[in-house]
Symmetry: C2
Subunit: 740 residues, 2 copies
């Protein structure tokens, strides 16, 4: 890394406001400027291809019981540097990732008058030579560093608080980072909410963002809307002149999640942080840093999806031996509960107490899904079909009244229901070479989970489990905390790090939305943290465009356990009175295994539904979960998406193409195939008369010989999609199959 | 237990307000009446020797998002019963405890209109057949049972919420139990505070209680005063006609601590509960019960101290094998930090981060107390003097900035400082037959402690530790919680129960004040939870009367680790500039081993100070820590106290007599000794010219022959005291010693 220290020069200029630092991205596409305003406010501005995308925007913080860190700064030091390196993720969409950027780090100093504050914490009752007397200083001198990294697809910046004598322990009351946009962009958004990301997406002008729409979303378990003009990140926008702009954050550690408050007149966005139980945002100790704020921009939508900037801004893996981390497919005793065939709970009583109830004496309701025989059925199916794992939900006591009571002690994570034989299933699964996957629903009670975590993980390892799906459906305990606050952000990481100590992989449901931490903690295979396929089973569901928006929003931060692969699309197959349905065709469900990236993919439907359509299920058997390469072929948020991916260490490709409620033709040039080689492409497409509403399960499967000159054209039905597997052609294939 | 069910009879009377139920205590001294007012309010009244002590007082609750449970009740059922049994504590002041009471249990029903409330918790995102739809019922029928137990020294009562369909999960917003007193009693009180019991006691009229005095107590680490006219319990009062009245609670489990709000006009007290982070008091699920509210009354002060009512109202031990629980004496690397000779912290840096700091590279400050050589010195002293344990504070990393920063991760409880050799000390202590006692300061971060608790206890057992002193000096994390709230109440019990699983004994500092739970969890040997001797080392200290009040207040709930035995009374012996001193004579420090009951007693001063006065230290070597019998001989709160105790399974007695700032004569009849036996009484008394201010360390030690006809008269200096050990006389004694 090249460092050019300009201290002396800059100290001379430090009192001169308006002096602007500018850097260009490696390709020159982007230009980032930084200056201090006349009032000493930090201000940045970002241009793409010589046009402002972020107008002059202020930066800084409100600090509890201290003057704000917003103005009155001088520049102490400026450092320019650059990096160009490659690295290999433990698993991912590509084998090798380039990390190339130009960096500008500006260290600012502010001298402010501090008024003495009364505080509950008075003197210590003990003699301690290291006590801090700084609270009585009438003037306080504080430093922050703002570090910008300018990539060829956008910008990341963060605030750093160096170790310093007059800023040691402090509480961020609010972050005031602005993103002042240049127009009233088309925006794909969900309401700002401290507790959930499970809203359906809205597509409106920026000025039309109205989070109060979230009040109607009663299908979501726990909501904490906080302002009308607030949106979650990742926020995806498209400008009138065709620029795609994505704002999110990277490496959210020891800090609350960030929301964007919308000024509907100026099109300015300002950060807001999730509060803790007493209304503060972040408790920090210097040296400290915020997460990176990311702005990814391109005039091509496909570039947004190909961006690795959020991953590049995360720290390398902290896990030294990663050999035990395995991308995988799973099925689960799960969807049958969502469709109402079975229950999580063993009994229908509803007033149990974890530590007092005699679980063996409860009267079974006869519908408990996680019983030994039923789990064996799933194990058999997994074994027969090359599925790695079987998730079992509802195996442990506590489901009788787990939801909505804000109880602290709901589950103990180690006591099975009487009809779930842990040891027998361990042996059975081992014989069948299938791994059982543990489930730890916390009901939102993180304090209870942390207390029992070690015992729970020891129980898992003693019984052959290597992966756990965690769940946070409920208001958080410690009461007053939110899913997105600093304490819970640290909780998810604590669980993940502890899991790594036990060589356990994590699939977190209802956590804060991801920010690329899977690079640092590659045992964190996936998260939900958005509106998953399950909503289609029992609510208004997810509109056909939903899966064309998620990759531009939620998945910018990391893999999603969306649970695709629903073949029995209409819920009236289970109960004639039900009107719910999955809002896609069956072929689109297959395409999602490619378009919705995750190293942990569920084949979410019931074994019997797959057995009925074993030909279509072949794609799920075949599709990879880890990749050497990924090509975003076509993309428009809210409309369509076509992605091709090369399986890890194999000359096999898989393509997924999806559309929204409108039918369209997917154009798929196979120029990524090896030259002079013949392949078989098996196309799983919507049937001609298929559409998501009336005929969702009609599909056609055809195989052709293809090569790198081939361009597939596949018709996608309304709400439809197509999946293609491409493998090297055998001699037999060459004889039997026609060219495309 | 005799049960007389009066259902039919009472149902007939249920609409008749004013119908009064009355029970008498076994001896007939007490009379308790209960009725419903015209508005259907529960009302109780308590008389002693035919005179009202508690006038008619209302009872009930405010419930969050529901109608209050205060009025509109009818009586559903009344049950009378009685009990007379004895039981043996695992350890205690006496060998056998009688539990004798008359009981009245009244079950009340209320039918109230409930208005629908909006709530953040909406529908579940899952199908669950057991969901509760009761929230939409326009009328709600709820039952509570009020259970009174009337003993011969007072009353206990609690509220029970039976399991019922329309009251399952609910939140107590406030408890409204009244204690309407008959006059403006003399009261011994400390301010109501959610976080601390470390105030010095005030003695005023009830109407003069003004908790705002607590604002000046800057020597206390963390304070959370909440109202001007609020006091902590145990609250000790004395009426104008000489009645002693003590109000406290028993068996505080899964509920917040109770405070008393004082109406200075009517002399009425009303309960207030410690809130949680979002302002609620208790989250309950039926069946549920509150702690017992206790009122102990006598016309003799000694009866108050002899009462076992609070213990009787607690549940029997939950620990089956108690053989590993051992009352004991300890010394500790501790006082030398309080007097400024040593530090808890290893280094004088003050910006460490638990998980990042390289502790081995820190520059030692040269004053670190918990170093291997120094600990060995304490082990040697303990071994030589028959002291069971050596507490070591400051052994583990994190003390550099542990205090006052509201940090979540301060200590990990398993990493020693570089100069503390865990294995070497384990071996050394074992050779010397001394047990090292672990220290776990949490800095108030209960969440961090719970997360690390199992690992910490495993570390203890692996390194030979059987007991731990826990500490909660700091604002609580989860932030917004208080030391006295429901969550922390459950935390202390969780720690104690987990410790029991590991066969570990607990000495909790800065927890909620005890409520007799040592009966249920006898591994919870002691707590601090009051203003300990340590305050004398570095603050205005504890006035001479302090130790005459504590047994009537804080110790009513359970043993206190007061850390008596300070021989070097004046702090100017350590530093000529220091003006602090212990506000007692040396002889009084000895007396405290008897007057201040605890099965865990510290010899708190430094080994070198004991070696200088080895003759006086003999009393500490000799004194027992577990007892067959206890006689409260003389007592007046705020003035004086004389107690005699018989050592467990030995014919040895120990007497302690203390006075306040006034000198007095202690009159000690030895009629408790076995008849026709000769004993040697060794009297450790203040010297003639001794007084706490100017000559605190002058003492006389004399031995006499005594028997059960002897009456000792011992002069106690201003702020003084006396200690007496009484053992069977040997043939040699009979020859050498004179009769008293």
């Amino acid at each position: 890394m090249k460092k050019i220290t300009l201290i002396l020069f800059l100290l001379m200029l430090s009192a001169v406001s308006g002096f602007t630092q500018t850097i260009q991205s490696p390709s020159g596409n982007f230009s980032l400027s930084f200056k201090l305003s006349e009032a000493g406010e930090p201000v940045y501005q970002l241009s793409y291809k010589s046009k402002a995308v972020i107008k002059e925007s202020k930066m800084g913080f409100e600090i509890k019981n201290q003057p704000a860190l917003l103005k009155g700064f001088i520049i102490l030091e400026t450092n320019n540097s650059e990096k160009n390196e490659t690295w290999n993720p433990v698993w991912g969409e590509v084998k090798t990732i380039r990390n190339q950027y130009k960096e500008l780090a500006v260290t600012l100093q502010q001298i402010a008058t501090i008024e003495p504050t009364s505080t509950t914490v008075a003197n210590t009752d003990v003699f301690n030579s290291s006590n801090d007397a700084s609270a009585k200083v009438p003037k306080v001198t504080r430093k922050i560093t703002i570090r910008f990294r300018l990539f060829d697809d956008g910008l990341g910046f963060r605030y750093e608080f160096p170790e310093q004598s007059e800023l040691k322990y402090f509480t961020v009351a609010e972050e005031k980072t602005e993103f002042n946009l240049t127009g009233d962009h088309k925006t794909f958004w969900i309401p700002g909410d401290y507790d959930t990301n499970e809203y359906a997406y809205n597509t409106t002008k920026l000025s039309e963002i109205d989070a109060s729409i979230g009040k109607k979303a009663t299908e979501i378990a726990v909501r904490a809307l906080f302002a009308d003009h607030a949106a979650q990140t990742p926020l995806m926008m498209k400008s009138g002149d065709g620029l795609y702009i994505n704002i999110h954050e990277a490496a959210l550690v020891n800090y609350p999640a960030m929301y964007l408050m919308v000024n509907r007149q100026t099109f300015g966005l300002t950060t807001h942080l999730a509060p803790n139980a007493v209304g503060n945002a972040a408790f920090l100790q210097t040296p400290a840093k915020t997460p990176w704020r990311t702005i990814i921009i391109s005039d091509k939508a496909t570039d947004i999806l190909a961006s690795k900037t959020i991953l590049n801004l995360n720290e390398p893996t902290k896990i030294k031996d990663t050999s035990w981390i395995k991308p995988q497919k799973m099925i689960g005793v799960w969807w049958e509960m969502h469709v109402g065939k079975a229950t999580w709970n063993y009994s229908d009583t509803n007033n149990v107490i974890l530590t007092n109830t005699d679980w063996k004496s409860l009267k079974p309701n006869g519908k408990h899904g996680a019983n030994t025989a039923n789990v064996k059925r799933y194990v058999d199916f997994a074994s027969k079909n090359g599925i790695d794992g079987v998730l079992v939900e509802g195996w442990n006591v506590g489901w009788e009244d787990w939801f909505g009571n804000w109880k602290e002690e709901v589950f103990d994570f180690v006591t099975p229901y009487p009809d779930f034989d842990v040891k027998e299933l361990q042996n059975y699964a081992a014989q069948k070479k299938v791994k059982l996957i543990m489930h730890h629903e916390t009901s939102g009670s993180a304090s209870n989970y942390e207390r029992r975590l070690d015992e729970a993980f020891r129980f898992m390892k003693a019984n052959g489990y290597d992966a756990v799906k965690t769940g946070y459906v409920g208001k958080i305990v410690p009461r007053g905390e939110y899913h997105d606050g600093q304490m819970m952000v640290n909780h998810y990481i604590h669980v993940t790090e502890t899991a790594a100590d036990y060589k356990i992989m994590i699939d977190a449901h209802e956590p804060v939305r991801p920010t690329g931490l899977q690079r640092t903690f590659p045992n964190w295979l996936a998260s939900e943290a958005a509106r998953g396929n399950e909503f289609n089973a029992w609510s208004v569901g997810n509109p056909p465009e939903h899966e064309t928006i998620l990759p531009f929003t939620r998945l910018m931060g990391g893999p999603m356990d969306y649970t695709p692969g629903i073949f029995e699309v209409k819920m009236n197959r289970y109960d004639a009175n039900k009107k719910e349905q999955v809002h896609t065709t069956l072929a689109k469900q297959l395409a999602l295994y490619v378009t919705m990236y995750s190293p942990l993919q569920m084949a979410a439907d019931l074994p019997e539904n797959y057995e009925k359509r074993s030909d279509a299920f072949q794609f799920i058997r075949d599709v990879a979960v880890d990749w050497d390469d990924t090509r975003i072929l076509e993309a428009e948020p809210g409309d369509y998406l076509t992605i091709a991916r090369k399986a890890k260490s194999k000359d096999e490709w898989f393509v997924g193409a999806i559309t929204d409620e409108n039918s369209r033709m997917a154009n798929i040039s196979l120029d990524f195939l090896m030259p002079n080689s013949q392949y078989v492409a098996t196309i799983y497409a919507d049937a001609k008369d298929s559409n998501w509403q009336n005929n969702p399960t009609a599909y056609e499967i055809k195989s052709y010989l293809v090569n790198n000159q081939t361009a597939l054209k596949i018709a996608l039905a309304n709400g439809g999609g197509a999946a293609v597997s491409i493998k090297a052609a055998s001699g037999d294939d060459l004889k039997k199959l026609k060219n495309y």
